[in-house]
Symmetry: C2
Subunit: 125 residues, 2 copies
DNA sequence: CTTTGATGTCTACAGGTGTAGTCTTACGAT
DNA sequence: ATCGTAAGACTACACCTGTAGACATCAAAG
């Protein structure tokens, strides 16, 4: 649970697989990462590093391991995005939204969804 | 202008100074970074690395340099936040806002500001 | 002119990261 | 019983990063 250590970009790619597919053998992870075009060896290294960082947990299953995420995706996302918000936007969400809007990165659908979200929050509160 | 290279965390701290204070000598930068508690040498290294990465431009001014940001803050922010959005939230802003709201990271003031922002967008569009 | 202090350059070094090869071992197929 | 193969362990290696010391130089002070 303690996400003290930081997860690198490549490592997070591996974690994403476990979050998506649940506990998996390295074989499964490797298959799921075919798109990344990594050597098998690379993925095994990443798995080993994640184990060492305690971000995933290996469970012996016969001759091989089944790896499961020990770090919750939600928690990781929180850490990452709060980091960015803090560094770039004074820790607040509004300036980020504003930034995106100023750069025309918000589609109509985005705006609609945001509107719905905010209204919900506003009532709910 | 070409932000091809990535700016590290410590480097961005230096860049922030130039963005805030405008073109400055190393002396000025060092003074502005007193809070960071870095050795003078460290800051000089960071300046040198930024020059090499072409993120800042040194202009000879007598015996010393005046450094100015060659990379626009807006651009950097865009790169960074789009990177995060892409990696964590499928590239869309709404899921990020939702994430923050679900984790009670939005104050009343935030919600109000967001609401104002969105309404503006909605009309404006 | 000499000393001193600031300025930029070079060098350093450990730890993280991307990327991957090699080695050992044991299971499954023959 | 044998052998190839796959899984995990170990090793590698270049580059980035954080952090900083050492050195050369030149202008200012005395």
């Amino acid at each position: 649970m303690q996400a003290v250590v930081s997860i690198s970009d490549a490592e997070s790619r591996v974690l994403e697989v476990l979050w998506r597919e649940g506990p998996s053998t390295s074989e499964r992870v490797i298959a799921a990462l075919a798109q990344e075009d990594w050597e098998v060896s690379t993925i095994k290294t990443l798995l080993a590093r994640l184990v060492k960082k305690r971000a995933i947990r290996p469970r012996k299953e016969g001759r091989r391991f089944v790896y499961s995420a020990a770090l919750a995706r939600e928690q990781w996302i929180t850490t990452e995005s709060e980091g960015l918000l803090g560094r770039l936007f004074g820790g607040r969400v509004a300036p980020l939204v504003q930034h995106f809007s100023q750069h025309r990165k918000l589609s109509k659908a985005d705006v609609a969804e945001l509107k719905r979200l905010i209204e919900e929050l506003d009532d709910g509160e």
